[in-house]
Symmetry: C2
Subunit: 322 residues, 2 copies
């Protein structure tokens, strides 16, 4: 096996079968029900300095997960507990429970806990509120607006009284963003110039741009930012499979507009996840926040599902059901 | 006349002689003694949306100035006043006094008031303190370190207890930066790889990068920024004469390091200039802050002096003496 360059080929991963060994002291056995698919997975394959160690060659592919404890030799977990954590892309996981926490789903479906109430939701919540620092009346532009993070970012911004414009690929997604998620407008980057779209949808400029994509769309947004605008760099999905990243050539707009471009990593907010989950549960109950999951079955379909992260063929949070 | 594309040719400007008309009510006649040369002049020639209107074709070239009031019909100014403002590149200026303020030079030479105590000094002061938010112990990297802004940025950071590394072109400038200005180190970008230089001089990474140049040097700095680093985008002198700006391809380091890149324009701090001048005067008296001006004579040499802004052939603040 070797690390991929550009878009990973199917043989970047292989499916292995192993017999489950008996548990050691302190370990738990989890049956995984849902596996989270995130664009960040691509970055974890690169052997470069990043916010987290790369996945080692031969290691189980890293992924967030939800499952049920089948057996426990760890005093913190009991048989039957529903737990979320980083079990990786596998049907069963044996580990010491570190990084796993119990979930009490209540009325909510389990997949919500790796979408809206999981990493993407936490990323959206802290990204738009603490990094984007939105205020009522701001014009907020969100790329990958139909995606797991973007869809939540925009809905939170609406709840906070902002004007929210999305950018998404295709009429179907744009209709979803406006009609189902309640955005004020959406730019279909596959069928129109993003520059022209921003000019039309944001006639008073952009106060906050939440960037999930990088590349040309980031450059288009930079043209229209207002004085003291904030750009949240959450991701750059257009660049993850490129061997050479394209820098934002319009970055001097930051100078002209005294604007700020800030990176964020959701893990920094882990001590506040519980508060955010409580708040977002209330919004879900009040029907102010819609959670959308795109769920596929079969671990053998890993690669086909992985591709959907990058080819635009999904809506909301991408999940593998086991 | 036409607007320049790329590096301005000599015929971008022409020298005109006019007879001084008599003063109207409220006007003052200033004899200009010193004219400020700034890299920003290049940007003022472009007809693009910026933080200030472009200089109109046929208009006097915009420039900061210091001069003496020869005649006044304005109650705020008297004959003999030394005034600083925006007189433009001309020997005499007639205007209504708007944007001009009186200077009391005390023991200091007049050119200091368009360098260290003028726009470049104010840019350095507010840029490194309010945007860079330096703290004692930070490692601060400054490009164009021998220049009007960079030299002050680094000296202020030293006063505040930071480790300060400069980047400058040539051994002569690097020696000056270390020996005269007191920086802890200097990377000679003309004679070594900036990446290798940063690795050597900043073994613990960069907490604040004050960027005056953009381009490859900004990209090199991005590789080495620490968690929560601040990048101050003050200018991009390497890009001002390029027809296509090069974006920082390593900008995703902002994400990995939860770092921030912020633009600044000195005019935003105008209500605090006086406080900064008072503080910097004290530092100059205490010999903690050195002011260096590179002064040339003769308005007919405008173009030759202008070129020095970009070809590296100057040290400190570039000034035309009339």
């Amino acid at each position: 096996m070797k690390r991929p360059l550009g878009f990973p080929s199917e043989d970047t991963w292989k499916l292995d079968e192993e017999t489950l060994p008996p548990l050691n002291e302190n370990e738990i056995l989890i049956q995984n029900h849902y596996i989270s698919f995130d664009p960040a997975m691509r970055g974890w394959l690169n052997e470069t300095r990043s916010y987290i160690e790369p996945v080692k060659i031969g290691e189980v592919m890293r992924a967030g997960s939800i499952g049920k404890v089948l057996e426990s030799k760890n005093s913190k977990f009991s048989k039957g507990d529903i737990v979320s954590g980083w079990a990786g892309v596998q049907q069963y996981s044996i580990n010491n429970g570190k990084g796993f926490f119990k979930i009490n789903p209540g009325n909510l479906d389990l997949p919500v806990f790796i979408g809206t109430l999981g990493m993407p939701g936490m990323t959206a919540y802290f990204g738009i509120l603490e990094v984007g620092k939105i205020k009522k009346g701001d014009t907020v532009l969100v790329s990958a607006a139909a995606g797991a993070v973007g869809s939540i970012v925009g809905q939170i911004a609406k709840i906070k009284g902002c004007k929210v414009i999305g950018i998404a690929g295709g009429k179907n997604k744009c209709d979803y963003v406006i009609n189902d998620l309640g955005f004020d407008g959406c730019i279909d980057y596959k069928n129109e110039s993003v520059t022209r779209g921003i000019k039309r949808e944001c006639p008073n400029g952009i106060d906050v741009y939440f960037d999930n994509v990088g590349g040309d769309i980031l450059d288009a947004a930079l043209i229209f930012i207002n004085k003291n605008a904030r750009i949240v760099v959450c991701g750059a999905i257009s660049q993850y499979n490129e061997t050479a990243v394209k820098g934002p050539k319009n970055y001097l707009s930051l100078l002209v507009n005294r604007a700020t471009m800030s990176g964020m990593v959701v893990f920094d907010y882990s001590n506040k996840y519980a508060l955010a989950v409580d708040q977002m549960k209330i919004w879900i109950e009040q029907d102010k926040l819609k959670s959308k999951e795109d769920i596929y079955s079969g671990i053998e379909n890993f690669y086909e599902i992985f591709k959907k992260l990058f080819n635009g063929d999904k809506k909301g949070k991408l999940i593998l059901k086991l």
